[in-house]
């Protein structure tokens, strides 16, 4: 999963996890919660997304509550990567732990909704396919990349346990 390509949905700065998944839905399970992703600012978003789509956002994406269903619900509707100028730190960790690629890309604001982008996680490059513009992203430290590569923390720990038993 080092190269990810998909269509872009664009959001602004400081998107809060209370907006991604409002607290009143937290009582449910992920498939139920996922139907309400972003409904406060983009009603019907879950139905618009197609598997493989990518979110592009401004700074401090995922600020607020630590709820990691705000990542799992994104995966459930088919989002495969989030490119943002910066992330709230807990959301960034939750992405890594759940196997959703968080791409920190300070120039992300030039990307427009509906464009296609190609992300090279290892090289730290985001290419806007429509225009050919190449943006620099912050490459993931290898310790963190290995967790993402295992599909998240559960998969990473499974690998470690299996390695111990070998």
């Amino acid at each position: 999963m080092t190269i990810i390509e998909g269509r872009v949905w664009k959001f602004g700065d400081d998107v809060d996890t209370d907006v991604i998944v409002p607290g009143r839905y937290l009582i449910g399970d992920v498939p139920e919660i996922a139907r309400h992703v972003m409904e406060g600012i983009r009603p019907g978003f879950a139905d618009l997304v197609e598997p493989g789509d990518i979110i592009v956002a401004g700074s401090n994406f995922g600020t607020g509550s630590s709820r990691d269903v705000a990542v799992k619900a994104m995966l459930a509707i088919g989002i495969r990567a989030i490119v943002a100028e910066s992330f709230a730190r807990i959301y960034f960790r939750n992405c890594i732990n759940s196997g959703l690629a968080p791409v920190e890309c300070p120039g992300a604001s030039v990307i427009e909704e509906g464009q296609r982008v190609r992300i090279d996680l290892l090289d730290g490059k985001v290419t806007v396919v429509d225009t050919g513009v190449v943006l620099e992203a912050v490459p993931l430290p290898k310790e963190i990349a290995s967790i993402l590569d295992a599909g998240g923390l559960v998969g990473f720990m499974r690998r470690e346990i299996e390695a111990d038993h070998r």
Binding site: I27, T63, M157
Partner: protein, 422 residues
């Protein structure tokens, strides 16, 4: 090169002499906290999937605070799962409906200076008030910590927040931190640790100080920390825990930035809907009518907050058409309020008392807002829909400001209702 207190705590937890900012390291966790919302119901299936158990139940604290008392069957089931988890894994430090996790971690002196503490909630940073490194994370991270006792982190840069002077009458730590957040924005502290110090901090009690570390979540910081001093030592001593002051940052530690404030110049402020960094003086927006006044949350319903509210409400009544709700941050806070007459003052003024817990703060428990309702609240966040309907509006302020608005029926500078020396 000198080390900041955050670097020192991480170095010890990583079995190193020193660490440098931006290094990614695996560290040992001294103590972990999970609550009913992000805890067992999310973590247990992951433990089962991997066939692993809680590594050390004595290093885990569990709190049911988000879904108490159960509002419906779904909430009751979450509480049952939480109880069953504590029993299955032998977690003895488990508190249901005794208070909000962040308040209890401090009040019960579970946290000690120098500890590396990880909690499954974004306001875990509150614990930094006792001089530990308190890191908030999500459920999957906590699953890793609970199963292995370890986690990874990136060594943060530190911002020194130096507060001179002293807060004036009617002005609180809440006004101070909202002022700081207003100046720097909700991502102003991103990835970095805010280390508070200076004469104004030295003069504050632990409960007031904890508002500063609590709301580090609202400025995007990794956490906030107030290195343990005499105030910390005597707070812990009163709870039967003997510690030394410190650890503290070295004289030649490197800070990414230093922010300086004069507490004397701070005035009562309010954050407007729907951003907690949209901060204005209370006097500037006085006259905004409110129908709801909420004194609750780990941020704003500790005993000290209840006392502030009572100071304004004594001999007065809540305005007609306003519902003032009080959800104490802990059972201990309410017991103390009963003992010293604060509770009676609140009730005589017409406050509606809710049970202890997160309540309406996350839009889950009692007292949530309907469409069009306008609330002034002592909580920490006002993102759209946070406390209920996406069409409600939440203003944030101190307990003084919330109590004053409840009496006036509109936002006012709380000093208008207080005896302020000229």
């Amino acid at each position: 090169m000198g080390q900041t207190v955050a670097q020192k705590i991480i170095a010890r937890a990583a079995h190193r002499d020193t660490v440098e900012p931006d290094e990614v390291l695996w560290v040992d966790v001294d103590i972990a906290m999970i609550h009913d919302s992000g805890g067992p119901r999310r973590i247990w299936p992951m433990l089962t999937e991997l066939g692993v158990r809680v590594l050390d139940p004595d290093r885990l604290v569990m709190v049911s605070d988000h879904y108490v008392p159960a509002q419906d069957v779904g909430a009751a089931e979450i509480l049952q799962t939480t109880r069953a988890f504590a029993k299955e894994f032998g977690v003895t430090r488990f508190h249901e409906a005794q208070g909000i996790a962040h308040t209890l971690m401090v009040e019960k002196a579970y946290l000690r200076p120098g500890m590396l503490y990880v909690g499954g909630d974004s306001h875990t940073c509150t614990g930094g008030v006792l001089g530990c490194l308190a890191l908030g994370m999500g459920s999957t991270d906590l699953f890793g910590v609970v199963a292995t006792g370890r986690t990874w982190l990136r060594v943060p840069h530190t911002i020194r927040v130096e507060i001179d002077g002293a807060l004036a009458v009617g002005v609180t730590a809440k006004d101070l931190i909202l002022t700081i957040i207003g100046d720097h924005g909700m991502s102003g502290g991103l990835y970095r640790v805010l280390e508070f110090g200076g004469p104004a901090i030295a003069g504050m009690g632990i409960q007031e100080r904890s508002v500063l570390t609590n709301m580090c979540a609202e400025i995007g910081a990794k956490t906030g920390i107030i290195p343990a001093d005499d105030v910390t030592v005597s707070y812990l001593a009163e709870r039967g825990v003997d510690v030394e002051p410190g650890p503290v940052s070295d004289q030649d530690a490197t800070y990414a930035e230093t922010w300086r404030y004069d507490a004397t110049a701070v005035e009562p402020v309010i954050a407007r809907p729907h951003r907690h960094d949209d901060v204005v003086p209370a006097s500037e927006i006085s006259g905004v009518p409110v129908g709801r006044a909420y004194i609750g949350a780990c941020t704003g319903a500790k005993h000290s907050d209840l006392v502030m509210a009572a100071e304004v409400l004594r001999g007065r009544s809540v305005a007609p058409g306003v519902l003032l709700q009080v959800a104490p941050a802990s059972r201990g806070a309410w017991e103390q309020a009963i003992g010293d007459g604060t509770a009676a003052t609140l009730m005589e003024a017409g406050a509606h008392i809710l049970s202890t817990g997160c309540g309406a703060c996350p839009g889950i428990g009692s007292g949530v807002l309907g469409p069009g309702e306008v609330c002034i609240s002592t909580t920490s966040r006002n993102a759209r829909g946070r406390m209920g309907s996406p069409d409600s509006q939440v203003y944030l302020g101190s307990a003084y400001s919330v109590a004053a608005a409840a009496v006036a029926g509109e936002i006012v500078d709380p000093r208008m209702l207080m005896v302020v020396p000229a």
